[in-house]
Symmetry: C2
């Protein structure tokens, strides 16, 4: 424990010295509630306790801030969902792990507005530009993870040979993102269990013995 | 054909006399692109060619405009999706018809930003208030249509007796709304076919013979 009396003599770290990373993590959380279009420098400055000019030192435009926020959200998503799932061996175990980790990150409320990318894409789907393109690229990257895992499960023999890995990824992602939308709207973890059941049904129906 | 020379002598109908319905139909379309929060009286006035004061004669507040827009979107959705589907007899035929009509209304681009309610709910899911509540109630109403149809299909004997109608509605809606999100993002009708295939797979797997 620090002695209370010494606190005032310890130099307070300059507010302006707060790391870019801290600001961007707050921006990523805020964007899932206020929208990435609503992510104004003024609002973010208030949320992290910086002056607008302090924040402008880090990001010269709203678009630069939005793009940096997306990269930070991507790093968080990789650390919370993709990296743990890739610990599972390639095959049906990894298909399950990707789905489980996705649903678990919703349940842990990693972002207050649910899946960061679903939130951003729903907001800006009809607004073309670099922010839109980058968000869609990362959504496609996630879809690619599911598709690769489904293909590896098929190679392993856990999925019927006449199934289409892209179609399987589509069906898995549908359940994950619908659970996300329902969970964000109602906050009821039962919707995450519905997705788990839907995914089990799907994996059973595509198994060679199914 | 009207004789060109007579045009200027025909009294132009008062712009202010344009019906509330015409304004609200434009508002419903616009809300799926700009967002229902972005549905300002100024922007809508420009879109329908009315003065701001002309529009204020119809709607005294942004919230009144937003709520009226949701009711109009609901009427459009009923006319385009629900009423045609309810022509099918209760049972598995109606389950299929609800899904088919939903996907067909996406393919016809009834709303430029896809499903009106998915668009509004994704935008305002974390913004409590009457607009949020009414949009969620209509989303729940749609879910109820799917659930009732699934229950009727089970009563008819087209669905295994140990299946849960709510779970079936969840899985159907997941495919419909994921197809919506993908179609809006990419504009590719192939995503609608993926949803059709996913729904066929599901209906096969819950059929008593499956």
């Amino acid at each position: 424990m620090t002695e209370p009396g010494t606190l005032s003599s310890v130099p307070t770290p300059s507010k302006e010295a707060r790391s870019r990373d801290t600001i961007l993590r707050e921006a990523a959380r805020l964007a899932t509630v206020e929208g990435i279009e609503g992510l104004s420098i003024a609002r973010l400055a208030a949320a992290v306790g910086l002056s607008k000019s302090g924040l402008f030192a880090h990001f010269r435009s709203k678009e630069e801030l939005q793009l940096a926020t997306i990269e930070t959200a991507d790093r968080i998503f990789r650390a919370e969902v993709i990296d743990p799932a890739l610990q599972a061996p390639p095959g049906i175990a990894r298909v399950r792990a990707l789905c489980d980790e996705f649903l678990a990150h919703l349940e842990r409320d990693v972002f207050p507005g649910g899946c960061f990318f679903a939130s951003v894409v729903a907001e800006i789907d009809t607004h073309p530009g670099p922010v839109h393109d980058r968000a869609l690229a990362l959504v496609a990257d996630w879809f690619g993870q599911l598709e690769t895992a489904a293909r590896e499960a098929q190679a392993e023999g856990s999925v019927k040979s006449d199934e289409d890995a892209t179609q399987i990824a589509f069906e898995l992602d549908a359940h994950l993102l619908f659970a996300n939308a329902q969970y964000v709207a109602g906050g009821d973890p039962a919707t995450l269990d519905r997705a788990r059941r839907a995914i089990e049904r799907l994996l059973n129906s595509i198994a060679p013995s199914g």
